[in-house]
Amino acid sequence: MAQTQVQVPAKMTLFHRKRRFRLLDIITYLLLGVFLCTSLAPFIFSFFSSFKTFAHILDYPPSLFPNPWTWGNYATILRNGNFPRWLLNSFIFAGGTMIFNVLFSSMAGYALARMRFSGRRLIFLTTLAVMLIPLPITMIPKFLMVSSLGLVNTYFALLLPFMAQPFSVFIMVQFFKSLPREMEEAALIDGASYYRTFFQIILPLVKPALIAVAILSFQGAWNEFSWSLLVLNSPDMYTLPIGLLFFKGAHYTEYNLLLAGSMFNTIPLLVLFFILQRYFIRGIATVGLKG
């Protein structure tokens, strides 16, 4: 997280060129520009094409701008009885995951980073190991467990596996380790319990980490597909991704509708991303620093 700032004498300008534009720079920006296009193009094409009519969605050669322009696709989606429900379910799932994950993983991260107790190393190593276990390994047993508890098709089934994620714990541990000890020690000497210290003093200090975990949890749950597919069985319980899959089943060549639907799923998160991108990116980059 912290960037090493070093004074670079003017002569040693291998890496922080501010003056002359060299050929290498031109090539760099050119390449970056190409990738900019490939990153953006699908979104731009889809966004504009989501305003095309069914008759023109597969025109060849394809055009960028719709002609005629129609709001009808979005109208169809909003009029569909289930869409609002799907949005609500996604919010509940994503919001719930975010809240619980932030709470539980910060608590766990604090204990692992700051407290001394037997079994600490084991639990930390287990966390790391579990991060490397492919999720599908547990897909079948988790489903059968949830099913035998009669929780299929409920919010519980969605939330339970995601309420405390090893990766989030890992991020929290890294951040906690970077805190100076004095604050805590001062509080502890003053007689505060671990719990008071945690909630009132420590947590505010790791706000950036909390935000990063919150965002990543929200994003992960908002976009989650495979587990939702397994445990949700009726259209009124579908989250937005599963609802879109179901919608695709009914309209599989009406690409205009499908594109409008994808925009529905994408735009809220993109907006969130643009506003909070610092935290998104910082959360991910941490892994790079410490890994």
């Binding site: 922080h16 760099t28 979104f43 639990i123 547990t138 908002w222 993109l270 790079g288 620093l289």
Partner: protein, 299 residues
């Protein structure tokens, strides 16, 4: 100075840890063991009682190697997973590294580039898959752009020879940005002194890259390769949405095969056996990678 663990510290620690530990033990550790246990039974979704069958599920999978028309679906899926891993891991690692290096060199517009590059990683698999089904249609945008370059585009998702490749490209596009950030973070963590010392010692740009930057990035490269390999074998969403394993099982992936075996054929025990084998194979591959890249991660 760290204090010796006291009982009250331990109690407090475990209270803080308990929600996480409970969920972890139940939904991960117990689930893994339960999966292993299930693989020795014939289990359906819950309509009839499970029946103990010993190694029968594994024998079935073994027999799939000997069908007259070629191997059975599970092994086709594993082979596809392997192809996927090779192409996608090299592709996304190289691309991520390239982008990180390029971004690391500049300051002007760096944030803009970084944000926009990360867009594909923020979007959900369903949205991306729906978009790309449309882009990949034989008369769609991608083939149109190719035709402008006088390349006759293939039928992408309709053609068994190119369908998996289409999904591979999609995967690289969506996962490279995340790894780019890993690399970027790592690059920014390399102290300037290293580079300065190298310059003083007479190193040119290329020597510096190969002998300083790259070795320092080794741990991250291993992590990226390992994570990439694991997620290559986990590909499910795009297959379910775009091709359902077709055409002709060319896009059948291990997880999709497990899914259809369990939820389509109602054979949960067989699917559990598949997941055990999958785990062992992935574990073997990542261990090999570790030996090859020869690094130890510091904690």
């Amino acid at each position: 100075m760290p204090e010796a663990p006291t009982s009250s510290t331990s109690v407090a620690a475990y209270i803080f840890l308990s929600p996480y530990l409970i969920l972890l033990s139940v939904f991960t550790i117990f689930a893994v063991l339960y999966g292993l246990f299930l693989s020795f039974f014939t289990v359906d979704i819950g309509i009839s009682a499970p029946v103990f069958v010993g190694f029968r599920n594994y024998v079935t999978l073994w027999n799939q190697l000997f069908y007259s028309g070629g191997v059975g679906d599970f092994w086709i899926a594993m082979l596809n997973g392997l192809k996927f891993a090779v192409v996608v891991v090299s592709g996304q690692t190289a691309l991520a590294l390239l982008l990180a290096l390029l971004l690391h060199r500049i300051t002007f517009l760096k944030g803009v580039f970084r944000t926009i590059f990360y867009l594909p990683a923020v979007t959900s698999s369903i949205a991306i898959s729906l978009i790309f089904i449309w882009l990949y249609t034989p008369q769609g945008f991608i083939n149109y752009w190719l035709s402008l370059l006088h390349i006759s585009g293939p039928r992408w998702l309709e053609d068994p020879a190119t369908a998996l490749f289409a999904i591979m490209l999609l995967n690289i596009w969506t996962t490279a940005p995340t790894f780019m950030l890993f690399f970027l973070g790592a690059l920014e963590g390399i102290p300037q002194q290293f580079y300065e010392a190298a310059v003083v010692d007479g190193g040119n740009r290329s020597r510096i890259f190969w002998h300083i930057t790259l070795p320092l990035l080794r741990p991250i490269i291993f992590l990226v390769v390992a994570l990439g390999t694991i997620s290559s074998f986990q590909v499910f969403d795009q297959v379910k949405i775009m091709t359902e394993g077709g055409p002709l099982q060319s896009t059948l992936t291990p997880v999709y095969e497990m899914y259809t075996t369990a939820f389509g054929d109602d054979k949960f025990g067989l699917a559990a056996a598949m997941s055990v084998l999958l785990f062992l194979i992935i574990f073997a591959i990542t261990s090999l990678q570790r030996r090859f890249i020869d690094t130890d991660l510091q904690y």
